[in-house]
Amino acid sequence: MDRFLYLTFDGLSRGAIYAAFALALVLIWRAARIVNFAQGAMAVAAAYAGYSVTNATGSYWLGFITAVAGGLLLGAAVERVVMRFVDHSSPLNGVVVALGLVLIIQGVLGMIYGNEFRPAQAPFSRDAFQIGGVALLSRYDLFVFAAVGTVVALLTLLFTRTPTGLRMRAAAFAPDVSRLLGVPVGGMLTLGWALAAAVGSLAGMLVVPTELGLHPNAMDLLFISAFTAAVLGGLDSPVGAVVGGLVVGLLLAYVSGYLGATVAPMAVLILLVVVLLGRPDGLFSKAKARTA
């Protein structure tokens, strides 16, 4: 029972990170109808930028801010320089271009930093508190919950309470009408990509201390888990992404806790297959049919 409780909290903490990453995927999907397969690589690039700043200045927080801001800039650049010029008549094209970006980013990172794992420091202790003799949460887990919670709250506020959020939703929902009404649709798209990449980078920064360390391929599995989370919740639904993330996190924690860590990736694959075949629109999607 103690072990079960510990794994549950561990799973929720992992799940919060997956939720943030899945949210980044959902943001871009809603804005541009593209699943950003380069999200993982972009998050790694941002994390490396943060790592460099942390090493140079000795401050984790400067590195953290650099990573999130770097993600913001990278997202805007990717949309403005590459994605805007993709021919979207076939849904394949966007995916292929994103995969090309993955190769470029991983190659450039490998050239600059080399292909070995770089240990990344955590801002808080990862030793769990003992509550009633049971190890439950670490300070780092609390930090993860706070960070992801803040992001979710800010995004909700942005999309439901501000004029900019309204414009972004309008630009995604009916681009032509919005353009006629004076909404800068292209700018909203860039903003959407920038925001999503920043959220993805935040998730990347949060996940790195819990893994082996920084590596150009470090986010491959994070991407798969977050993609599964996003599909589980329905690619259209931000609420679904958060719930999906927590579910995937719990599943991974239980599977690696009871069956062994090497089985966890397979569990994700099986969950993805089951969701795609059983309920491909996700648990929270309102859309009747999937067209793309």
Binding site: V95, L101, L103, L269, L277
Partner: protein, 337 residues
């Protein structure tokens, strides 16, 4: 003035008049001559091109002609390679090993294909990406059979004394590659190829014309999986070992780059892609060596492939071979609108 769609039809007809046999037989003669002229290392590279050609040819049929994007072909190659390694180490009969490797991969491909037929666009890409990332971890889960990250060595009979190992490898790989290309060429010019294109272009119209959409999609996946299994088995023969590290996610992305740059759906494009898959890393390697930087090694090729993929998709989504064809098709699309 001939209308644009008719032009496409005419140009297609002209292309189809060349019999595949007339291309493959001279190619076989050329390869045979080359294997005697080339030094061992070049022969090895030639053999690798042949092995790559098997998988790119199959993948271009799936992605180019049927519109299904698979990122899981690296994992399917791993399936073929591991099957061959296990077969060889037990029975040591190369032909039987290759046949079983193809069969096993075909079955795995059929399973993925059954799921894939129900999925479109990014969903299919995501599922196959998950397969590519997860499958290497299976090797460490069942480590008594697959020996974890170290992988397995492949026992092979030495070739006859008259020829070098590399020459023999080139024969095996190109023999398999040319047979694959020949079979695929006949397959896609017949009814099956027409069904593939019909399903890709408009599923509803294809259904109305009496084509089984799901059946066609699963078959396309099975055919290309068999090709990937063959290529995987050949890679095991080439390297004389198999390990999860030989089939990373980037391998699947490289395969995608190869078929995109050569022109999706064209077997000639698959050949161009296969040549580039061998030539570019070797070129990048020589640059890295001359500059003396360890970090450039591998990563330069990675970056280069990425840039090529993005630039080709932005500038000419039809790939290198179809630059002229593309213009006609664009016109015909405008005409229809």
């Amino acid at each position: 003035m001939v209308s644009a769609p008719k032009k496409v039809a005419i140009s297609r007809k002209k292309r189809q008049r060349i019999s595949p046999l007339l291309v493959v037989i001279p190619a076989a003669a050329l390869i045979l001559a080359l294997t005697y002229a080339l030094p061992p290392f070049r022969n090895y590279q030639l053999a690798t091109v042949g092995a790559y050609l098997c998988v790119t040819a199959g993948l271009t049929v799936l992605t180019g002609l049927n519109g299904q994007l698979s990122l899981g072909h690296g994992a399917l190659m791993a399936t073929g390679a591991y099957t061959l390694a296990l077969m060889q180490n037990r029975f040591n009969l190369l032909v039987a090993g290759i046949v079983v490797a193809v069969l096993v991969t075909t079955v795995v491909g059929a399973v993925i294909g059954l799921a894939a037929a129900r999925l479109r666009g990014p969903y299919l890409a995501g599922l196959t990406l998950a397969v590519a990332v997860v499958v290497p971890s299976i090797a460490s889960t069942f480590d008594e059979t697959f020996n974890s990250d170290q992988g397995l060595t492949v026992a092979l009979e030495p070739p006859p004394d008259a020829i070098t190992v590399e020459q023999w490898q080139a024969w095996v790989c190109w023999g398999a590659a040319l047979v694959t290309v020949l079979l695929l060429a006949y397959l896609i010019r017949g009814r099956f190829g027409r069904d593939l294109r019909a399903v890709r272009d408009d599923e509803t119209a294809a259904k109305l014309a009496g084509i089984g959409v799901a059946r066609t999609q699963v078959l396309a996946f099975v055919v290309s999986a068999a090709c990937a299994g063959l290529a995987g088995a050949l890679f095991a023969v080439l390297a004389q070992s198999v390990s999860p590290g030989a089939f990373p996610l980037t391998l699947s992305l490289f395969l995608l780059m190869a078929i995109v740059i050569g022109g999706l759906g064209r077997l000639v494009g698959a050949l161009i892609g296969a040549v580039l898959l061998v030539a570019l890393p070797s070129f990048a390697q020589s640059i890295a060596e001359s500059s003396g930087s360890v970090r450039l090694e591998g990563n330069l090729a990675l970056t280069f492939f990425g840039v090529v993929l993005v630039v080709v998709m932005l500038a000419a989504p039809g790939g290198l071979t179809s630059l002229t064809n593309l213009r006609i098709r664009r016109k015909s699309q405008k005409g229809r609108k």
